[in-house]
């Protein structure tokens, strides 16, 4: 547009003013995944807001997460040890996922599928550790969704609800990754291209992103 002036000079205005599509060159699936993640952000934020509210309004003491989630290592209790490991695992899985996307776009489908499988395995181990953490909390510390010996009953309620919902996301992601990895491996996307790996990746990174917030607000508050 030669005579574009003022407003229309801005790329963003031009994009929104275009015909056919607003997000130029963005495949449908990717646009839809982004919008879904936006909606999911609202779900998680509502959960976290509810957690904030009950925590701030309770008149009972809130158990100290860094003690509750401590683990013995070499005979000394290390605060949040398992959580730290889980965090590192999830970050690592994000790294392998990012590389899978890269390999996909380079059309190296073997490495792409392999990296996705590694990502899924890391995700599965995350869920496994979470199961361990839950078990320990329930059996050793006596924390239940409706109460616990250390203070406000909302500690257990919000903990199980939020990590549970996040854990469901991780589990769904593991399945999703496994399915896509299988199809990549079989060469199903050779014709249409490897956007699908990026789309799966978006979901996976989002799950990691949510964990960043849970880590900060639940465990470190």
């Amino acid at each position: 547009m030669a005579e574009a002036t003022g407003w229309r000079n801005l790329q963003v205005v031009d994009d929104w003013a275009a015909d056919v599509e607003v997000f130029r060159g963005v495949p449908w699936g990717k646009a839809m995944m982004w919008i879904f993640l936006l909606s999911d952000t609202f779900i998680f934020t509502c959960f976290l807001t509810a957690y904030m509210t009950v925590r701030m309004t309770t008149a009972e003491p809130w158990p100290n997460p860094s003690e509750v989630f401590a683990l013995e290592a070499f005979g000394v209790p290390v605060p949040l040890l398992l959580i730290a490991i889980m965090t590192f695992i999830l970050i690592t899985s994000s790294g392998t996922m990012a590389m899978a996307v890269n390999m996909g776009y380079r059309r190296r489908r073997g490495p792409a599928a392999l990296l996705m499988v590694i990502t899924a395995l890391l995700g599965a181990s995350f869920v496994g550790m979470q199961a361990f953490e839950w078990t320990k909390l329930i059996t050793d510390e006596g924390v239940r969704p409706w109460g616990n010996p250390m203070g406000a009953p909302q500690f257990g309620s919000t903990f199980f609800m939020i990590t549970g919902f996040h854990g469901l996301h991780v589990s769904a992601g593991v399945v999703y990754l496994a399915v896509v990895a299988w199809r990549v491996w079989r060469g199903r996307y050779e014709k249409q291209g490897y956007d699908i790996v990026e789309i799966t990746g978006l979901y996976w990174h989002f799950v990691d992103l949510v964990w960043v917030f849970i880590f900060a607000f639940f465990y470190l508050w």
Binding site: L10, Q11, V12, D15, W16, V22, F23, R24, G25, V26, A31, W34, L37, L38, T41, F42, T45, C46, T49, M52, T53, M56, T57, A59, S66, P79, L80, A84, T87, F88, I91, T92, S94, G95, M97, A98, M99, V101, N102, G104, Y105, R106, R107, Q192, G193, Y194, D195, E198, G201, L202, H205, F206, D208, L209, V212, F213, F215, A216, L220, W221
Partner: protein, 117 residues
């Protein structure tokens, strides 16, 4: 869609971010380990959290390389959530105060004004 229009960036970028995420996670863990409290704790935790979140979204999710139209469409709506969180924080303080006022034990009791109705 042609496949080569996708997001392609040197692998080294991912390694860098990966390392940074490790560092920030370790840093926020240290905040807890050392036992900072109060504003210091909150400031550090939130800074590290935002840095991590920012890098994940910007680099791993490729937001940095998307066109502004997509960036705005995704990043603007959560503003509504900030309003929700801020107001709920105020609300919670108020609820807590009324709970202490009516049911709790106030460390420094002030006599209640006589009921007006």
């Amino acid at each position: 869609m042609a496949a080569d229009t996708g997001q392609q960036h040197p692998i080294s970028v991912y390694f860098w971010i990966w390392a940074l995420l490790f560092v920030f996670s370790a840093a926020s863990y240290t905040v807890d380990y050392i036992g900072f409290q109060g504003y210091m704790r909150w400031a550090l935790i939130i800074i590290f959290m935002m840095l991590k979140a920012g890098f994940i979204v910007a680099i791993f999710m490729h937001m940095r390389w998307e066109r502004v139209a997509l960036i705005t469409a995704i990043l603007v709506p959560p503003g509504a959530l900030l309003v929700l969180v801020a107001l709920m924080a105020m609300e919670s303080d108020y609820t807590w105060a009324t709970r202490i006022l009516y049911f709790g034990e106030d460390p420094a009791p002030v006599p209640l004004p006589p009921p007006s109705h």
